[in-house]
Symmetry: C2
Subunit: 223 residues, 2 copies
């Protein structure tokens, strides 16, 4: 095996881990922005997302170079394609972090309103799913990725619970319509983040076991 | 150039076009399901989506085989990677079609309610964006793809307009909370479909011009 090629694979892995940490941190910052109704943090999230977008393109370029110059096969090829897809999923999670942070624009108009308790619960679960799916990639451990796939239902349940609560709330107090719509937007973005972590988990399993788990037994509930 | 390889590239293109037609038809069926409040059509959409998911995996497999066995470079490599990403975007559009169709479950409980006029407008625009982005891929014509990127703002505006109307409506009649939340869900799914067509347009331009347009000048409004 070409040592230069091995170094390039390692370098791709390192850059992807950097991308993952940036996305995870920005996601947590977005959560803080809405929980603290802090518009300054929202601006920071938007700024960081631009750097995340740039890094996504760099990783894409690295992948294309690796494929073109090294023409990898077997498990190296699977690793590189998994990196390409995980990279894309991470960038999308970054976009959802921006969507979540932008809710602050509306939330600051309701200084006394509290977010539903389900929101931080969902955020905590989504964050752990993200962490576990990436750990399973780095540690080449498919069991963690499989655990992520099982957790997705919890988020879906909480998302439904939030929608239900908001409807009841708005029925009793129509002035909360705008706020309700915004909290439902946060909830759905959290649900989408969780969904993207299951994509990552599926990619990891594909890379490790060359077994396609997508769209199979677990058939995710689409929301 | 290897003739066998050329045939395989053609076959990949044909399968991707088949995938695109299935997704487009299912998207239109989902729209009919909600406009006509017809739950039978919703079931059809869900059934077809399973076939779409299966086809996505077949295309993914074909791409991996092509990369592993043919080790393509230059524009062939770019074409194959674009196909991989477009395939993924199409599958996601399929998921949004299911989300839209599932709104029928709620809508049938409000037999007299009409959808906002913006919904069919958004659907029409999203559908044309999908069609144009795929045409530009098939016809190797980047100008259509560029036009798609410019259209995305219209959908974002309409989505905001829908949110605004719903909030006003629910404020005046709190009983419409559930219905309002559901219509906003349809609107957001349409907005996401449009967003995915811009992804496809960007991939097409990348394939044709080897120029990355993502995250650049046009910096899409993230919603």
């Amino acid at each position: 095996m070409d040592r230069h090629f091995q170094r390039e694979l390692e370098s791709l892995k390192t850059t992807l881990i950097k991308m993952a940490s940036m996305v995870e941190e920005n996601f947590l910052l977005a959560l803080r922005a809405v929980m603290e109704k802090n518009i300054e943090l929202t601006h920071k999230v938007i700024e960081t997302d631009k750097r995340i977008d740039k890094l996504e393109l760099e990783i894409d370029d690295a992948v294309i170079d690796l494929l073109a110059l090294q023409q990898p096969v077997a498990s190296d090829l699977r690793f590189i394609l998994a990196a390409l897809k995980i990279n894309n999923d991470l960038e999308r999670i970054g976009d959802h972090a921006v969507n979540i942070a932008e809710a602050t624009d509306i939330l600051v108009q309701y200084p006394d309103a509290e977010l539903l308790e389900e929101i931080p619960q969902m955020a905590e679960i989504a964050r752990n799913m993200l962490k576990d799916s990436l750990d399973s990639f780095i540690q080449v451990d498919p069991s963690k990725a499989r655990a992520v796939l099982k957790t997705d239902d919890k988020i879906d349940d909480l998302n439904r619970q939030v929608a239900h609560k908001i409807i009841e709330h708005v029925k009793n107090n129509s002035k909360t319509a705008e706020l309700g719509l915004e909290i439902s937007r946060i909830s759905r973005n959290l649900e989408r983040v969780a969904d993207l972590t299951t994509n990552i988990a599926e990619e990891v399993i594909f890379y490790i076991q060359a077994r396609v788990v997508k769209h199979h037994a677990e058939e995710k509930d689409q929301k």
